[in-house]
């Protein structure tokens, strides 16, 4: 009989864990429900292509070009002019209060410049705190505005090339100058959801046994630390797998996120990432004395993961020290892998370094957990 590892004993621990998981209805529902709810909420809030966004108009003249411009913007469906502001300052405060998402300013010399063919300009200020919401509205702007202008000038579309170049649409993104592209969000969300649910659930693996008093019995029986660790983390590997399937399917069906890379490469990378996560959670549970502490530690890791991994802010835009911190978070590497594979169709060679980094995390966490594991009650 092997003292260190036996499949029989691991089997005992796994069966027990699965039964407990199945009986704990709420937790079980959370495992599947949380990813779906998060995905749908985050996904729609961020990824939806919102129309009829409230906008304010700052105009000083009522000429035909201005009217043409306003009606053209309205017909795109993105802009709904709710206010005509008398001054720039009034519009500014409307946006600061969040009453409008856009301020469209058509300068008083607009007509004169159009007539003189002297680079007419309109200014669009967008509330970019939710950058993806404003994204499409801004994207359609240039063409719509030029076409409207040309129509109004009675020019033919074919001869438009030069004149179109003349209209200048100046876009100011307010509050968040770096826009994040929408498709980045869903692959990122996959990593965030996995990190949140899996680390949280495995972080209470041991503390729950301690708090229920079952730890004393478990330790008195001949299970080795490796068996106990695997018995605790492997079931969550399965849970992670189910979550991944749910999120990927939803990404495809609900948000039509393009998937250009190899599915198997992605699955392989996810496996390594999930392994690193459950082992991180388990390491936390060898450190924490109570479930409360375990949850606090989980969030201690969760916040920097969200902020510094490139999920929330573009990684390259962060200062050097923040990038260095980001490097030691599994989520950072996972985001690079998923975005590269899903959106750019990267092959293994291109993401090998990231997968290697994720494997290092898994090995380090497993080592730490085994070192920290207390075989005794003291």
């Amino acid at each position: 009989m092997n003292a260190v590892f036996s499949f029989g004993r691991l089997g005992a621990l796994l069966i027990k864990e699965f039964i407990q998981m199945r009986r704990d209805r709420i937790t079980f529902a959370m495992m599947l429900g949380v990813p779906l709810v998060q995905l749908v909420l985050f996904g729609y809030a961020i990824n939806n292509d919102p129309k009829a966004l409230p906008a304010a108009l700052v105009v000083t003249s009522q000429d035909q070009y201005t009217r043409a411009m306003v009606s053209a913007l309205e017909t795109t469906g993105y802009y709904r002019f709710v206010r005509v502001a008398a001054s720039e300052a009034e519009a500014e405060s409307l946006m600061a209060r969040g009453e409008v998402s856009f301020v469209v300013t058509i300068p008083s010399d607009f007509r004169r410049r159009v007539d003189r063919g002297d680079n007419p300009r309109i200014l669009i200020e967008a509330d970019a705190t939710d950058p993806s919401a404003a994204g499409n509205a801004i994207a359609t702007l240039g063409t719509v505005a030029s076409q409207a202008l040309l129509r109004e000038q009675g020019m033919e579309a074919v001869a438009a090339e030069n004149a179109a170049g003349q209209l200048q649409v100046v876009v100011h993104r307010r509050y968040n100058p770096e826009g994040i592209s929408q498709y980045n969000i869903v692959p990122g969300l996959l990593g965030v959801i996995l990190q949140m649910t899996l680390v949280m659930m495995t972080s209470i693996a041991l503390t729950r046994e301690t708090e229920r008093g079952t730890m004393e019995n478990l330790l008195a029986m001949p299970a080795s630390p490796t068996e106990i660790m695997l018995g605790k983390v492997l079931p969550y590997l399965v849970v992670g797998g189910v979550q991944v399937a749910v999120v990927l399917a939803a990404a495809r069906l609900l948000f039509s996120v393009p998937f250009v890379g190899s599915l198997w490469l992605l699955v392989g990378a996810i496996f390594v990432f999930v392994m690193a996560l459950v082992l991180l959670g388990y390491t936390i549970s060898t450190v924490a004395r109570t479930q409360m502490q375990a949850l606090q530690l989980t969030f201690f890791f969760f916040l920097p993961s969200i902020l510094l991994s490139g999920f929330m802010f573009p990684y390259r835009g962060m200062p050097g020290w923040a990038q260095a911190l980001g490097e030691i978070l599994p989520l950072t590497h996972f985001l690079r892998v998923t975005r590269a594979v899903m959106l750019k169709g990267a092959d293994f060679a291109e993401i090998a370094a990231e997968i290697a980094a994720l494997s290092v995390f898994a090995v380090v966490f497993a080592g730490l957990a085994l070192m920290r594991f207390r075989r005794t009650l003291d």
């Binding site: 003292a3 027990k16 079952t214 019995n217 001949p222």
Partner: protein
């Protein structure tokens, strides 16, 4: 029968912070012996048992359990020992059968179903095999825990208050079972607060404030305590008791049914203090037998003095 001791530990010390909970405890238990472990609440029984089964590392001291070194061979000890915890520590969200299956698999008993089936039958729980363990009554939880820890046929049983909350009939059956197992060579160390259970042990050890105060067969322990007991019979015993309170040599006064047990460690002094009561009409005073309980109460009173 094997004569090498099942438990042999020397000068175990365990401290929690600055508090010494186990203070130089030594213990020898021969194979096949049933040893009762007694002592007031918080005296260190559970802690000592945990050290013996490798769940706590002693700060000082050494020893061997079933021939394995306490410090270096904890894993082998765990495999050959059955430990029943004081607090129910099986999974309340698993059924009775699932708990037993879990234990059977961990000890790699084969075939699992057969072991579990037999244990359920012996317990009389076959019909309730699919009931969640958490929904069992307190006494049944104890019986389930006991059954689970003898399933793998350990050589040494460490039982921490196994019969707390168990009804008298089940208690009787439990002790009959313990004696049957001991006849086959199983060694048992069992902590208890019940005197009748102590009397069913081959030997007892008494611990108080972490120190082992007495050890030996029940009558030895009683004899070594050197107590004298008088039984007072007659009328108006309440008044007699009140009168005796505080007299020199009178250390315990305990009513037992229609009699009064008066206990003291100084026989002469005690006799003198009882002399006038004995001369009274309708009251008789005769020498009585000191019980184990008298001895323990004496121990408790004595060690409290030590602590203050």
């Amino acid at each position: 029968m094997n004569t090498s001791p099942a438990i042999s530990v020397r000068n175990l010390v365990k401290r929690f912070g600055t508090k010494t909970v186990v203070d130089h405890v030594s213990m020898d238990v021969a194979t096949g012996e049933i040893v009762g472990f007694l002592g007031p609440n918080g005296s260190g029984k559970t802690t000592t048992i945990r050290i013996i089964c490798g769940l706590l590392t002693p700060d000082e001291g050494e020893g061997s359990v079933l021939g394995h070194d306490l410090r270096t061979e904890a894993l082998r000890i765990k495999r050959e020992v059955g430990y029943m915890t004081q607090r129910f520590s099986f999974y309340e969200d698993l059924t009775i059968a699932e708990n037993l299956e879990f234990v059977a698999r961990l000890y790699r008993l084969k075939p699992v179903e057969e072991h579990v089936g037999r244990t359920l039958e012996e317990l009389g729980l076959t019909s309730r095999r699919d009931q969640l363990a958490g929904t069992l009554s307190g006494g049944w939880k104890q019986r389930l825990a006991l059954a689970a820890c003898i399933m793998h046929k350990p050589k040494l049983l460490l039982l921490d208050e196994p019969t707390a909350g168990v009804d008298p009939k089940a208690r009787r059956e439990f002790w009959d079972e313990i004696h049957r197992l001991a006849r086959d060579g199983l060694t048992v160390l069992v902590s208890t607060h019940y005197m009748d259970e102590a009397e069913r042990c081959h030997r007892i050890s008494y611990i108080s404030y972490g120190r082992m105060l007495a050890s030996g067969a029940v009558d030895e322990v009683v004899a070594n305590a050197g107590l004298t007991t008088f039984v007072v019979e007659g009328e108006h015993l309440n008044e007699v008791a009140a009168e005796l309170e505080g007299r020199p040599g009178v250390e315990q006064i305990a009513p037992f049914g229609a009699t009064l047990h008066v206990v003291g460690s100084d026989a002469k002094l005690l006799k003198k203090s009882l002399a006038d009561i004995a001369r009274r009409d309708g009251v008789t005073v005769r020498p009585g037998e000191t019980s184990l309980e008298d001895v323990f109460i004496q121990f408790m009173a004595g060690s409290k003095d030590n602590m203050q």
